[in-house]
Symmetry: C2
Subunit: 135 residues, 2 copies
């Protein structure tokens, strides 16, 4: 039961990054909670609160060319009846650490909070086949 | 009901920063969840998982002289049956943004995850009376 819940949250986390990588604003809107007051801390931004401010920020970001995010080491952690997914985001040569908190809405996990920022000693990419280098 | 829960989480958040400012490792241990696999992302550290790694990091940090953290704009947000407290941490001239996720254990909120890092456009300190400047 618990493992299935964690897998479901990891799937929602994948969908969030897929929406980003595909520049799909409709999928991005769907990835976030519609019933609760969401929050978002982009790297280099102040804290954004509320669905309007958070989704406006994603609309602005997705309207510009983006380096795709290569998701590394996503791990799901049950916290009460929510799931926190920790992961690293590789954007070109930069690796950020992210905390993504998911809540259940109508049996689907939706993003409640995204916090990404710089980190030290990020993991080394081991799946080189899926991560071509630019040398 | 909900307001009381949010106030209770803010109190637990205050206790966490008080433990830091007083270098009180016993209070720090008490601030964190004892039943769930906790996580911590200090600024400039890799992700730490598990009570042993997280509390060892705080023991190391508290064993050294620290600039006290002046807590700014703590705000509690109900997420399922957990509470996420967003806040800013002023350490001298540096201001970090932090996300602190609390879970209920025996009717007490305990920290499940702490993620702090650099932020842009931090809030301006308005309560100058409680924040003497060093000019």
């Amino acid at each position: 039961m618990s493992q299935a819940i964690l897998a479901q949250a990891l799937f929602a986390n994948d969908a969030f990054y897929l929406a980003f990588n595909q520049g799909d604003m409709e999928a991005m809107e769907s990835a976030w909670s519609q019933e609760q007051g969401i929050l978002c801390l982009h790297p280099g931004w102040p804290l954004l609160t509320g669905r309007s401010a958070v989704l406006d920020s994603w609309r602005e970001i997705l309207s510009q060319p983006q380096t795709p995010i290569d998701l590394m080491e996503p791990t799901a952690h049950l916290a009460g009846n929510t799931v926190l997914v920790s992961c690293y985001e590789q954007l070109g040569a930069t690796i950020m650490a992210a905390s993504n908190l998911f809540v259940l809405e109508n049996d689907q996990f939706r993003l409640f909070h995204h916090h990404a920022g710089p980190c030290a000693n990020p993991p080394q990419r081991t799946r080189l086949a899926s991560s071509p280098t630019n040398h």
